[in-house]
Subunit: 415 residues, 2 copies
């Protein structure tokens, strides 16, 4: 990260990993602030590029980070240019080795593209969708076959001449493969150039991408210069860590939350993400003020789950999901209204589990609590406690959670 | 070199550096002898490819090695396919860095191509030209724009997918540049594939090239296989060492003999090439029996110069050139018929220059000979002798040469 981008309004700087080039110069090719100013003076909205692969993606909240930023530009009056990589998807990987570049038919590509656009909100009102599909002038949908289909050998040679073998092999993934002796087919060197050429074709002012896209976006800048255009800026956003807390969110790792999952499933997954992700989820997936959060982790976590679910599903659905999630924890026979609250003030910390359950009067004594825990009848927020000596350091770890013994005895911890 | 290629007729094996693949298998994709047999049985002439660059080349005898071999195939009933690289010449090197790939206009390319073909004998009778332009079915002239102009991006991606970065960087010149940090533009990787694709376009059975062409010709084989064709064979011929005896013959090094030089200039240059090149010149540029050569170097050298000149200019012109070359040595005032012969049998070897000239009676005494040599008046075959003690080891070094003192005294050394 180059800085805090403090001179930008929050809707731009929020969640940003990198913006390049990043200079405070007067030159609108070097200073994004200047380019923004010009756009406002000339009343010419910025053309903000984002590429999507029509390969049958189920959009998850990790992807949504980029679309949320694109939407922010739309809401500020700029134009989102969605580029559907239909040409590249139809070619695929001629060697058949790449699992991410499967060759698709024209029909498959079109059906995937439509599905992608529907997930983004095609046909819905702006307030109910990720992107604004209906306000005039805010969205352009382009297929890269429009320009790539017409390239001939002579154009391709000219494109290729804009980069060198050394540049390509400096790119991290190529470099790793070259060093490890994993074959790199020559056509793979063409793809960054084609993505870059998309920027030329649509005359982009800005391209959005994950942090792994810096090379390709910079290639777009180079090509725009070679073709006599003002080079675009690159805006990189973090790649979301998945529910497991370690790997990037992806469908294949099953650590994801799809944006089209039902609200209960979305809420339930989100309220269980590891504590150290909660803040970044709030930062990247909501607009909430991060300086005004509760100091109680459990509350922040529920707040995050509620807000994110609410962003995708609306507040009513999110609240219902929260309610049903708690009901789920207790099983169907109980109604949530019946959960009594009980203050944790009488408990001394650090507190072991057997002591906690005895002190909160869910068990008649410490030894009874030990027995119940070892017998498998004790849960916190639906998760079984197996070690009577499990230790809690502060009340905040417990406030808001549901303590439960057997099927009938439970309470919600309050301050 | 893989072998002596003894199983081939002399017109094939003569001068060959490499023929690949080289197997004695039954498979006509692996055994060139088998492919030849098939061609004869099926009465289908082989399609023998040779590519030429229409960049304004003045053809020299070094280039002629390839055309002589191509002609041998024509004379044996096969078809020469000359490929004019007009498309590549018109594109040139988009970076402008390559001195060998200058961008030419369509008119320049066509005029260069015509000039090249005229040098090869276009419009002449077969007996007076390098290639046979007139016997029906022996020559096809193609321009690679025919097929390259129609390639689109999708075709190029497929072409590129047939090779890897590792393969390209294994190629000697690319490897040297990559290791030394000299930039390699990406489009340069495309050129070997385009040359290879030419073989697909014309369905070549055999491609001729210099020893530096092995990589590109092998690429043609790979692509033909990928496109479902029988792969071509590659026949590599040596790159001729120039008149300086060290570097490859080239116009820019001025160590060349152009095939369109006048016969006197051609003969004079050839009879002066360093001794250790004479045999290879005879081998690569004539059809003479190398087992029946004179044992006297001077005679072999004059024989070589006469035969090569005769191949390009006809026997009469070559003989006249030889005559005039000797006249040139003595200056215009003398007529060659007047040169008396004198036997070297009376000289004992090793012999120093002053002793030689005294013993051959061109000087009255050894001391007179020393004086004349130091005074600059003594020549052998027109070249001034400056050291009286210059030593000759055998009579063969001198037989056939003209010894000369001043302008009036001279003789030709005989056995």
């Amino acid at each position: 990260m180059l800085g805090n981008f403090n001179e930008f309004p929050d809707w731009i700087s929020r969640g940003l990993d990198d913006l390049f080039p990043y200079k405070k110069a007067e030159d609108s090719d070097q200073s994004f602030l200047k380019r923004l100013e010009l756009s406002s003076i000339e009343k010419k909205p910025l053309r903000v590029k984002l590429g999507i692969d029509p390969t049958g993606t189920e959009i998850h909240i990790g992807h949504s980070i980029l679309f949320r930023k694109l939407r922010a530009f739309q809401d500020a009056g700029h134009k989102a240019i969605l580029i559907i990589g239909d040409f590249t998807a139809r070619i695929g990987d001629p060697t058949g080795k790449s699992k991410t570049r499967i060759q698709l038919t024209k029909d498959e590509v079109e059906s995937n593209a439509l599905n992608y656009l529907e997930q983004l909100g095609l046909g819905k009102e702006p307030q109910n969708s990720l992107l604004d599909f209906s306000t005039p002038g805010r969205l352009e949908i382009r297929r890269n076959s429009e320009w790539l289909e017409n390239l001939n050998l002579s154009n391709v040679i000219e494109l290729l001449s804009n980069s060198t073998v050394g540049q390509m092999l400096a790119k991290e993934d190529f470099n790793n493969r070259y060093k490890s002796g994993t074959p790199i087919s020559l056509h793979e060197f063409l793809y960054p150039l084609l993505q870059g050429y998309d920027s030329v074709a649509i005359n982009a002012d800005l391209e959005l991408g994950g942090t792994d896209q810096k090379f390709n976006i910079a290639m777009g800048r180079d090509l725009q210069k070679a073709f006599g255009q003002k080079p675009q800026f690159g805006m990189l956003l973090p790649i979301l860590v998945g529910l497991d807390g370690t790997q990037k969110m992806s469908k294949s790792l099953n650590n994801f939350v799809g944006i089209n999952e039902d609200s209960l499933s979305m809420y339930s997954k989100l309220e269980k993400v590891p504590d150290d992700l909660v803040f970044s989820y709030l930062n990247l997936l909501t607009d909430e003020n991060l300086n005004e959060l509760s100091s109680i982790p459990r509350e922040v976590q529920k707040f995050m789950a509620l807000k994110i679910t609410s962003n995708f599903k609306g507040l009513e659905a999110a609240k219902k999901a929260q309610y049903n999630s708690e009901k789920l924890i207790l099983g169907n026979q109980n109604s949530l209204e019946e959960i009594p609250e009980s203050s944790i003030s009488k408990v001394n910390f650090p507190a072991k589990a057997f002591y906690l359950f005895s002190k909160m009067k869910l068990c008649s004594s410490s030894s009874e609590a030990r027995r119940q825990i070892l017998g498998g009848g004790v849960r916190i927020d639906g998760e079984k406690i197996e070690d009577p000596n499990l230790e809690f350091d502060t009340p905040n770890e417990l406030i808001g959670k549901i303590l439960q013994v057997g099927k009938k005895k439970f309470l919600r911890v309050s301050n």
